[in-house]
């Protein structure tokens, strides 16, 4: 009993240590964002601003339509995620459970494409997108979600571990391939899908280089682009940069905390079922 309590104390100490390391930079961001320009460079440093001010936040909002950028980010990330989950899980199901010719070769192509740095395809993709007339539209940043090798790879690993007996049972019950996919395979992938949902959303939300090239219209810009514009103007005014960073992070953190409940129950359910 004593030993158990000790190990629990050690557990909380380690957990808190890592949490502290993860959080210190954000504490510094928060503290800095409420400082005036002169307090920024005062020594010894002010851990907590002695005269907190909202000046940096005002500057951020007068410099860029941040509200519009927030809407753009949400709209793009949600569409991107939905399309990715659907398209990738379908492909993964085919790779893992339908034995079709050339499956191995095609899958290797997926893996290989994942290794191509985005920078390699950036210029040709720009050319293709402008041929399709998609430059400066939401479509230019949403449509690439159809193909996401990372998601397919992860889902193939999961679907492979679903026993074939399950699918065989569904087939005997008269379910077609699509119903098997929708009603048997997808629910069994729930934990992986939940994880993917978060990570895909994040990737789209935080993507920088691609939207930078495709969206030059200020009204279509996402939050990272807005932040980049800010960095170009105030490279050394860290109170402004930190205020902008904080604003750009807030929506996603709120979404994550809210969605936590659903994802957690999904992950746990998966754990119990094995």
């Amino acid at each position: 009993m004593v030993r158990k309590r000790l190990s629990k104390t050690a557990y909380y100490m380690i957990a808190a240590m890592i949490a502290l390391i993860a959080m210190v930079p954000f504490f510094w961001m928060l503290s800095t964002s409420f400082k005036s320009r002169s307090a920024l460079m005062s020594l010894p440093i002010e851990w907590i601003p002695s005269e907190p001010t909202l000046a940096a936040y005002k500057k951020v909002f007068t410099q860029f339509p941040f509200g519009r950028a927030m809407f753009n980010s949400v709209f793009i990330a949600v569409s991107y995620t939905l399309i990715t989950l659907l398209s990738s899980s379908m492909a993964a199901f085919a790779f893992a459970k339908i034995r079709f010719p050339l499956a191995n070769g095609l899958f290797k192509l997926y893996l290989a494409s994942m290794m191509i740095p985005t920078q390699v395809t950036l210029i040709p993709l720009f050319v293709i997108m402008s041929r399709l007339g998609l430059i400066n539209t939401y479509g230019s940043v949403i449509l690439p979600s159809l193909f996401r090798a990372f998601a397919v790879f992860l889902l193939v690993q999961t679907i492979r571990s679903i026993p074939n007996d399950f699918l065989e049972a569904a087939r005997i019950d008269g379910a077609g391939l699509f119903r098997t996919y929708w009603q048997v395979v997808l629910p069994l992938c729930a934990p992986t899908l939940a994880t993917l949902c978060i990570t895909t959303f994040m990737d789209s939300w935080n993507d920088f280089l691609w939207p930078l090239v495709m969206l030059s219209d200020r009204n279509l810009m996402t939050l990272p682009l807005a932040l980049n514009t800010l960095n170009g103007q105030y490279a050394t005014e860290y109170n402004v940069l930190m205020a902008g960073s904080l604003i750009s992070m807030l929506p996603i953190i709120l979404v994550y905390i809210f969605a936590q409940k659903y994802f957690k129950s999904g992950l746990m359910a998966g754990g119990v079922k094995g």
Binding site: M23, F100, A103, M115, I128, L154
Partner: protein, 307 residues
């Protein structure tokens, strides 16, 4: 359902069955990946400066220079120096990342009270965009006004000028990268941990196996598919490290943090040597491909899929 037959009609029928599921993804693969890849391969054989129209008549006749870009890169010292820098990053980053994300997965897998709070806290760096994350780290690591050196000072340690020092710039980028990525890979390993059938542990406990034995005989082997995934993906990402370098050091000081993608970006979008940049990126691809092949072929030796 998965029995193999050799009859060609049978395999054609299987292809027909699979194709509706594959269609959206493969269409994306062709338009957004394969086509640009082939175009980029062609560009790498030219001296295109980004000004002439790519598909104009006689483009190839005017600009084709064969393998000269590749020869130039491989015979210069820059490529090898940059490759060494990338390797240095990987050697520091991968072990640190694995330890931290395994630790996080383990911590979060315990059903203790308050674990939900930790889960959110560990994941916040992942939620942050690299633009914000790198800006924050630039300020956190500021030699005079940064919080890291001021914390070190409390313990009587004189911190280095992190991002301005040739010796410390790369470790700084490693620190920022592990800080940003550990929550992500931790979550992947966590879902692997939770997928392990609790029955194994009960059986092992009945057999009298201790905690260490349970970890090495059950947890670790059954976690290998997730570990494999983490290794493959994190190595590929490590070779492609870019935004943090761009915003934290821009390749400096004195080229100490110049890495592969940073060079590709500079050649392509700052100096407009598109052909040279494309050739550089293909050399990067060959390196990554070789490493991933190695990992895939070694997978049979250590990765266990449930029977």
């Amino acid at each position: 359902m998965t029995r193999k037959r050799n009859a060609p009609t049978r395999s054609l029928r299987d292809l027909m069955r699979a194709s509706p599921f594959l269609l959206p993804s493969v269409a994306g693969l062709v338009v957004f990946s394969l086509m640009p890849i082939i175009l980029s391969l062609l560009i790498s054989l030219t001296d295109w400066n980004g000004l002439d129209k790519l598909a104009a008549n006689g483009f190839l006749a005017d600009h084709y220079i064969g393998l000269q870009n590749y020869k130039e890169i491989l015979s210069g010292e820059e490529f090898w120096r940059v490759l060494t820098n990338t390797g240095y990053f990987i050697v520091l980053y991968l072990p640190l990342l694995l330890i931290c994300s395994l630790g996080i997965a383990w911590l979060l897998s315990k059903g203790y009270r308050g674990v939900g709070v930790f889960r959110v806290l560990y994941y916040i760096p992942v939620l942050t965009s690299w633009i914000a994350g790198a800006l924050i780290f630039r300020w956190v690591l500021s030699s005079k006004f940064g919080i890291v050196n001021n914390i070190l000072e409390i313990f009587g340690i004189q911190g280095p000028a992190w991002l301005q020092s040739e010796q410390w710039a790369m470790p700084s980028i490693v620190l920022a990268s592990v800080w940003k990525d550990m929550g992500f890979y931790g979550l992947i390993l966590l879902s692997g941990l939770q997928a392990i059938d609790k029955g194994y542990y009960e059986a092992a406990s009945i057999d009298g196996a201790g905690a260490w034995k349970r970890f090495f005989r059950i947890t670790l082997p059954l976690l290998t598919p997730s570990l494999f995934f983490v290794l493959v993906v994190s190595l590929i990402n490590a070779f492609q490290l870019f935004p943090q370098v761009m915003i934290m050091t821009d390749g400096g000081p004195n080229g100490a943090t110049q890495v592969m993608v940073e060079r590709i970006y500079k050649y392509g979008f700052r100096y407009y040597e598109m052909g040279y940049a494309a050739a550089f990126s293909w050399l990067l691809f060959i390196i990554i491909f070789a490493f991933t092949r190695l990992q895939l072929s070694a997978q049979k030796r250590w990765v266990h899929y449930g029977s």
